[in-house]
């Protein structure tokens, strides 16, 4: 293939590389803290996730120590409940989801042939709030204020009456904001995967790992809002006595379970799908053969993502839901096992198709261990979707066994395989000898710990008990589990030693393709990313054209230089990856660091609740955000207007409107907000169904005042119109029309919100008396939060205009404000139609 001319002529002038290096250089010393490059943040993110794996694992060891023999009292009941709650919570929220995002942030840029993902600063912010917030959250266990209601936090046990301490608030606020990190990361990944692929990498040629992460990130966008809303409602109930979950005032504890598991079940696949996608990358490299049935595996990933949203009732089989409804969910549970099974067969087929027998290297061993453990966990998964079986197995150690087989098998083993497989691509290779020792200890340890739990579960042992009685035949199985846990810990320790001893961060020049893999993460990727952006003609570019690596690293492909003298990324169309424009991407800065410290401090101060520190941290966060966007975004056109990136492709260096990545990110944000609002509407309707028409509204309360509702609608409409006018009259940014329109918009939106709330007040509707009022005010509070953000964005846009930082080409600020503004108005209108119209229009 090397006879085909490269897009840019070789050799390249030397100054080009020096310029790239200068632009992408990491700030030296302590100022490296301000760096946002994925080459640094990615591995740090992974290391932090692994740290939380060890910290949560230690809590697991405490559990196994306490349960080694009947009647032990190493920790008291209260501490034990905190320990098992934190074990689950930290594993799920601070290890599994961040680990998946971390690996993606580290690997995807070079795998997609991108210099950088589009929003590195957002990625760095997500990492920092996770690091700071996560460590502070974990520390709560040392002060006895860690959550103690289980990671599922069912009210009314977690309501104020039965959990008066701040332990529950620690969970609701502490975890609540770490979900912001997950969502921020997901937005970065979605836009990155869809818009930052190398020319020629159509969706059909996109590596399967990117598919897995794309599905993962989309699932985060649609699943996490449910738990954010659930946490918000429970915190409103605890702090202000709004009875969403208290049956004596029209609430219902089942509402929590529906919301929580609408998040919680997809969460399992959120963790598993990216891991399965890693396996689909590693297996072909090990077998030196293309993945068999690639398109079916992609379909399986996407299909699992969709089906997983129909399974949440699996966790609620014993709540008294009628068996007919349960049978629907049982069928859905069976259906979701098919795509997982299909992938297992695709991997086996890929091994079978290998030219030579595979070598049992450490990554290969972890893959085989994964197949063993995950297949077993998958089969018990089918069992627990069988309704009558689950009535017996539910909340026993059988489930503990099942979920650990699925999560350790389905996520931890692929992650460790990935660690050994990709370590050379991110830094330096790990030891095969230590790796194999770690593998055997972890593999045998996992099975010895968790297989006996299937038996102890069927011997009648429920979950979440701090001790168990002797004489019921449970002693042997629990002792075996505890011995296995010690073995697993030894394995984790060996792995830790290997990483600390042998791993050094930093993509080097002269990267070797360690496993002779076919995908582009094995190209040289120092701090400036790829030397040039490759032209992709196959799903496995390095196998398809063995000379590609040399060409790319010599700078022969696209954009081997810095077009505008800043950090840049090549942005393409979502399906065909046709290059569209060259986008500026953020470099080092302090705004996001300040914002991260402020955000973490704000949420943790609220748990106290220490209101004055919370307010201070809020202002710090706000200052950080404003500094970040004021100095770091929307520069307008800089440098040459158009640039030839090679191969005759001439691209603009600036873009506005729907083609920009910032537009896409804003749309993703609106999807998050919209899903959250849909959860609130769902809660309102659910509580109506539970209470019946007669109690909706209950005696003594009324419907919102119609006149004020209509007024609010009109004012919201005016606010929307103002922004449309501002946008249409921006011209060169110097006139006063758009400024006056913005000003009018600010006034109208504020007035609309006040009329909206006044209508409820006039009802009268009271949030504390009954779930009717609580859910109506809940919808309104969510709207108020959006209006306040929209007002802030509008004022900021006005300030940009007055500072001369807004113009015909320099209009990202106004475009984003307009998008969010119109969303806010639409959300307000939906809320008014629901609250005023819904009970009135019922026959």
């Amino acid at each position: 293939m090397s006879d085909i001319p490269t897009p840019n002529a070789l050799p390249r002038p030397e100054a080009e590389l020096a310029e790239l290096k200068r632009i992408w250089r990491q700030p030296p010393g302590w100022r490296a803290l301000s760096e946002v490059n994925n080459g640094l943040i990615g591995p740090l993110f992974i290391a932090t996730a692994l740290l939380f794996f060890l910290l949560a694992g230690l809590l697991g060891l405490v559990i196994r120590a306490q349960l080694a023999f009947p009647g032990l009292t190493l920790v008291n009941p209260d501490t034990y409940n905190q320990v098992f709650t934190m074990h689950g919570t930290v594993m799920m929220f601070l290890f599994a989801v961040p680990a998946v995002e971390a690996v993606a942030i580290a690997l995807l840029p070079s795998m997609l042939g991108a210099r950088e993902l589009p929003f590195p600063r957002l990625g760095a912010y997500a990492f920092l709030i996770y690091l700071i917030g996560g460590l502070l959250f974990y520390a709560s266990i040392f002060f006895g204020i860690a959550p103690d209601g289980g990671w599922f936090m069912y009210p009314p046990l977690t309501s104020k009456a039965y959990s008066p301490g701040i332990n529950t608030d620690m969970y609701l606020l502490g975890i609540g904001f770490i979900e912001i990190s997950a969502i921020a990361g997901a937005i970065e990944l979605i836009v990155g995967i869809l818009r930052c692929r190398a020319p020629g990498m159509t969706l059909g040629r996109m590596p399967i790992y990117a598919w897995g992460i794309l599905v993962f990130a989309a699932m985060v966008i649609f699943a996490f809002p449910a738990v954010i809303i659930a946490s918000t409602l429970l915190e409103l109930e605890r702090a202000f006595d709004w009875p969403f979950f208290l049956p004596e005032r029209g609430g219902d504890p089942m509402l929590w379970q529906h919301l929580f598991w609408f998040f919680g079940h997809p969460e399992v696949y959120v963790i598993f799908l990216p891991a399965a996608a890693m396996v689909s990358m590693i297996v072909p490299a090990m077998a030196q053969a293309r993945l068999v049935a690639h398109s079916m595996v992609v379909t399986a990933l996407v299909g699992t993502g969709f089906l997983s949203f129909g399974l949440w009732v699996h966790h609620m089989y014993t709540t008294g839901i009628p068996p007919l409804s349960l049978s629907f969910f049982a069928a859905a549970g069976f259906a979701v096992s098919i795509p997982s099974g299909l992938q297992v067969f695709a991997w086996i087929a890929t091994f079978a198709s290998a030219g030579k027998r595979i070598r049992f290297t450490t990554p290969a061993l972890f893959i085989l261990g994964f197949l063993f453990i995950f297949t077993l966990g998958g089969l018990t998964g089918v069992m627990v979707s069988v309704t009558p079986f689950d009535w017996q197995a539910h909340d026993t150690y059988f489930i503990v066994a099942h979920l650990h087989y699925v999560l350790i098998g389905g996520m931890v083993f692929p992650l460790f395989s990935a660690l050994y497989y990709w370590a050379p691509a991110l830094g330096s290779q790990l030891s095969e000898r230590l790796g194999k020792t770690a593998f055997w200890l972890l593999f045998l340890g996992t099975n010895l710990t968790f297989f006996p739990m299937h038996i102890s579960g069927f011997m009648g042992m429920p979950r979440r008990i701090y001790t168990f009685p002797s004489g019921f035949g449970l002693e042997l199985w629990n002792l075996l589990s505890s011995i296995g846990a010690a073995m697993f810990a030894a394995g984790a320790l060996v792995l830790l030693v290997d990483v600390v001893k042998n791993f050094r961060i930093g993509g080097q020049e002269g990267q070797e393709n360690t496993w002779n893999a076919g995908t582009m993460e094995w190209l040289d990727s120092p701090e400036y990313g790829l030397r040039s952006i490759p032209l992709v003609r196959d799903r496995y570019p390095l196998w398809h054209d063995p000379d590609l690596k040399r060409q790319v690293e010599a700078g022969g492909h696209f954009l081997p230089f810095a077009a505008t003298g800043r950090r840049e990324a090549l942005i393409g169309s979502p399906a065909e990856a046709t290059p569209q424009y060259i986008a500026f991407v953020a470099g080092p800065g302090w705004g996001h660091v300040v914002a991260a410290v402020g955000t973490a401090g704000f949420f943790l101060a609220l748990t106290g609740p220490f209101l004055i520190p919370a307010a201070v941290f809020f202002l710090i966060a706000l200052a950080g955000f404003i500094g970040w966007v004021w100095h770091g975004t929307d520069f307008g056109p800089v440098g040459p207007e158009r640039v030839d990136i090679g191969g005759g492709i001439v691209l603009p260096t600036h873009a506005t409107g729907p083609v920009t990545t910032s537009w896409w990110a804003m749309v993703c944000t609106m999807l998050v907000s919209g899903t959250s609002y849909a959860c609130l509407i769902g809660s309102y309707l659910f509580l109506w169904l539970v209470n019946g028409d007669a109690m909706w509204p209950p005696a003594g309360q009324g419907l919102p005042a119609l006149g004020w509702g209509v007024t609010a609608l009109a004012l919201y409409g005016g606010a929307a119109l103002s922004l449309v006018v501002a946008s249409a009259t921006l011209h060169d940014g110097r006139g006063w029309t758009h400024r006056l329109a913005l000003l009018a918009g600010l006034g109208l939106l504020t007035a609309g919100m006040l009329a909206d709330g006044w209508a409820l007040w006039q009802g009268p509707i009271w949030p504390t008396l009954h779930a009717y009022g609580a859910s109506a005010w809940g919808l309104f509070v969510w709207q108020v939060a959006h209006v306040l953000i929209a007002l802030l964005m509008g004022s900021y846009t006005l300030a940009r205009s007055l500072a001369g930082k807004l113009g015909g080409q320099r209009r990202l600020t106004l475009d984003n404000t307009r998008l969010f503004w119109l969303y806010t108005v639409a959300q307000g209108a939906v809320g008014i139609v629901l609250l005023h119209g819904f009970p009135r229009l019922l026959p």
Binding site: P70, P323, A330, G341, T396, F458, P462, F472
Partner: protein, 333 residues
Amino acid sequence: MSETPGRCRAALSLGGACLLLAACSGVQTPLDPMGDHAARIAVLTWVLFIGGTAIFVLVMGLLVFALIAPARVRQAFGNRRFVVGGGIIFPTVTLIALLVYSLGVSRAVVLPTSDNPLRIEVIGRQYWWEVRYPDAGEGAVTANELRLPVGREVELLLSSGDVIHSLWIPNLHGKMDMIPGRVNRQRIRADRPGVMRGQCTEFCGVQHTLMAFYAVAQEPAEFDAWLALQRAPIPPPATPEQARGMQVFGEAGCGACHTVRGTEWQAKLGPDLSRIGSRLSLAAGALENHRGTLAGWVAGAQDIKPGNAMPAFGRSIPGDDLLAVAAWMESLR
């Protein structure tokens, strides 16, 4: 009742406290069914275990084959046909068969078979069980023990007095949650007499662990006699020690929380103690029931089950009086 003490007897020390840790393997497992519902689920369970094992062995066999078989043989499997056959057709057929079978079992274990079941109300509370027999009238109330007649269908009416609990008697049926604001119903039937153990399976707070109970299936005549006794007032104290115990009970304020039928003490905060001497356990399965454990529980409830609602009286009631109270309560049979 002949099986009770013989089958379940042994006590071990737990952190200084004495727990009822009965040597009765088999009284809390779905695999030793005592009634039709559990029996059908047990058959389903074995079908799943055996089928699952077979599929697991098959898949692992294919994996080993794909790894080590001679290249020409294994490469015949390295294609889409194999993936479609093993990954789509095989599971679809198997799962449809399983779905049909399991829906049949599902239906069979929830369908009422009697128009006239014995109704029993069980109310979950932190951390004990209130049990009422509404068909037998107002007074028939007990705690932490569920007695039922052999051969008659029982409809359990399950509710909660505080947080969510879940009732599980694995030898009879699967779990059913007890949710505040709702009443869940479950039909069970014991087909032979015997003692079973049940436990709370929904995490309900600091002492979720020590929230168990015994279920006792008795011949109908025996059951009717027992039920009649539950409505009757308690017998008068038979010895001076018991009389002293009854007096101490009143002086210590126990009646502020507990009911004893036929006395002035009618409070509902704690378990009904009218026939406590006849129960198989104390403190919701936490302790074996005899005079020593009764005295120990009254004295040190917060050491045995920290965080439960029963105060410890070890400091306020002298030793002799403690034993007297225990003697009186033991006589309430």
